[in-house]
């Protein structure tokens, strides 16, 4: 990368190194990305994204999920602006909170109520606390390797975490009914909740949809244990099914955790649930300074209204399928086999024979240079703003990516 392409980005990274530990932290840290990826961004519009140096990208990360309708969606931003012109964070919520709860209940396949937070981690932590309050039990069953947030009870890192933070966590393997039953037995009648991601979307791994048998077994296991079945829909919610990601399977959770995309980038999270856990939800104390702020609520109403009206999920599915088919054709043409897994709206692309990620990183570096923002290890996200032209541009960039992947393979072999 030459100085023109990333000079502002570099200068911001240098300034940040002085006043932010390590220069950056968390999932947006570009240090984990291939060469050529920018750290700092200036703006977004629809399916496009510009870094601080003015480079334009077709965006397949959608801000790691939050952008559902496209960047700066006019209806959502207008709703947010109207609310902002009146007030955002006041001494209590505005009418928009009630409207959003009503809309989420109306859309849901199982929930009769909603409660709002800011982070996905707030939603999963609240759901776990509700499960414990409602059941009087303590153990939480989690799929090995699943991401449910970044606080001590669930963080993927154990640095700064104590053993007691995990004292009541037991593990099972996703889609493995036997392992779920073993975890239930190990809990000895003390299961508060079984938490399960909408589908298996572990970092750097192939994605797996839940089997219907596994979903039914999880429901039955929760019932037998007197526990809550909690679907973590933070990442997938509203990209697979308006009513909740497990509606496709015909299995209804007791509680669901949402965040990321349902206000199209405005900060919000939610727990939704059924009547069995309504009183437990009232019984716990959970709150945050900005959880009732009205702008995100108004944005949420506008986002879900547009998503439903325009069959946004259908559109993302069509565009995602077009991308998947095109990538498969390119992989075959280049004789560079890849595994494309998960729902087409949330694609993961991993190269065969790529344990050191050399091919995936080369693929992505070439694509970013060609103006398309892919991710080599994390699942990606389609938005309603993606067009066939965007997919065509993505496939041109992918073509360059496959050539680069072949080149590093050849150099390495």
């Amino acid at each position: 990368m030459d100085g023109i392409r990333n000079s502002l980005d570099q200068s911001l990274r240098e300034r940040a190194l002085k006043v932010v530990p390590g220069g950056m932290w968390g999932h947006m840290n570009a240090a984990a990305l291939p060469e050529g990826y920018p750290q700092y961004f200036a703006r977004g519009l629809g399916s496009r994204l510009w870094d601080v140096d003015g480079n334009e990208y077709v965006d397949f990360m959608c801000s790691w999920g939050p952008i559902l309708l496209g960047h700066r969606h006019p209806e959502v931003d207008a709703a947010a602006q109207r609310q902002l012109a009146q007030g955002d964070c006041l001494n209590g919520p505005g009418e928009a909170m009630v409207q959003l709860a009503e809309l989420m209940v109306e859309l849901s396949g199982f929930a009769t109520w909603a409660q709002f937070q800011k982070n996905g981690t707030d939603a999963t932590t609240t759901a776990v606390t509700i499960a414990r309050a409602g059941t009087g039990h303590r153990k939480i069953l989690i799929a090995r390797g699943a991401y449910h947030g970044a606080v001590p009870w669930c963080s993927p890192s154990l640095v700064g975490v104590t053993a007691e933070d995990r004292a009541h966590i037991l593990h099972y393997d996703f889609n493995d009914i036997e392992s779920l039953h073993r975890a239930c037995e190990a809990a000895k009648g003390d299961v508060a909740g079984i938490i399960v991601s909408a589908f298996q979307h572990d970092y750097g791994q192939d994605q797996h949809l839940p089997t219907r048998e596994f979903a039914l077994a999880a429901r039955a296991a929760a019932d037998a244990a007197g526990a809550a079945l909690i679907v973590d829909d933070v990442r997938a919610g509203f990209r697979l099914n308006l009513g909740g990601s497990w509606e496709n399977l015909g299995v209804k959770p007791d509680l669901s955790a949402y965040s990321k995309c349902f206000a199209n980038g405005f900060a919000i999270a939610a727990v939704t649930g059924n009547d069995r856990f309504r009183d437990a939800t009232s019984s716990i104390f959970t709150t945050g300074s900005f959880w009732c702020s009205a702008v995100s609520m108004a944005a949420g109403v506008a986002t879900l209204t547009a998503l439903r009206r325009d069959d946004g999920i259908g559109h993302m599915t069509r565009m995602g399928q077009m991308l998947r088919d095109g990538i498969a054709q390119l992989a075959e043409a280049h004789a560079m086999p890849v595994r494309q897994t998960g729902p087409v709206q949330m694609p993961a692309i991993l190269f065969e024979d790529d344990a050191d990620h050399r091919r995936g990183f080369a693929f992505c570096s070439a694509a970013i240079g060609a103006g398309v923002y892919f991710h080599p290890l994390h699942n990606m996200f389609l938005s309603v703003a993606h067009t066939p032209e965007d997919i065509a541009r993505a496939l041109e960039a992918a073509d360059a990516g496959f050539r680069a992947a072949r080149a590093v393979s050849a150099a390495h072999d």
Copy 2:
């Protein structure tokens, strides 16, 4: 209250009861407030607030702290709008993140870095995790009754909380050096952090500033234990001292947690710290979907810039002193003694002989009817937008409040 005064509020409460457990949750739940308080708000401007029924209030809660310069401050909102017109939540932060970290470090009396979150609880939880990572110790010392957030390790409620969530929490009493030393001894060399509120602001209690002796002892105890001294400045930060609330005392923490007001109502939180904990901060994993969103960062830069330029803290201090003096005169004139405690920018007013809060509630109900939003139990907040005219209106409402408090006292005696 008649139907015109609160009919929309009542109708929203009824709708919410169906789709939100208990109709509302958390610190903004009006069920904990005296008769006549609205639950739902429509807008704010400067020092004023309007509920959904159009009733206007001089606001002394400032959204429970987040409003520092006044509702819809023109410079802050313009900065937020400029950023929103480009993008908010993108694939990484914008330049505003670096600017905000630089400004917070420049203002701080001790910090060389900042890292951002969304909730005050995110900041306190991150600070505790950093302290554990940096020291290799586990125990966290907390003042009995102090509020540091609403998740299991620190929530004021134990519903849905397990014993293990508190396994490494030890208590001391605020301003009690002996109790702090006893807690350190009980930790047997395993103290990771001593967390202490900027001042004691427990719900329903008189407020107490830390003594200089206590602050020095906390610093010395942390040093002796190889632990982090963490000042929880979430509630008080930037209302007492631009450089951190303990700058007044000449005692420097290792880590501080901020949230609430430093983006004037836009959702943000921060941990700031010294070089001793810089590497530990890089070593932990903490993140959130919206933690790098640029609008709150831009609002933070605008808020702190205006606060410093206009000596906002000086103004809040003068207005707060005017309110305190006026309340003291009224209390004497009505022969209804009250205790006014804490910094004048964050006043708490509690009636003598009022264990059942009858007097305080009557006072506040009368005041809300007269168009002034006080709180009977929680500390209140001045903003830079409060004017002498606002204080005069507040004192008129307080006059009605004292009459009402006298009436319920007489009826009760």
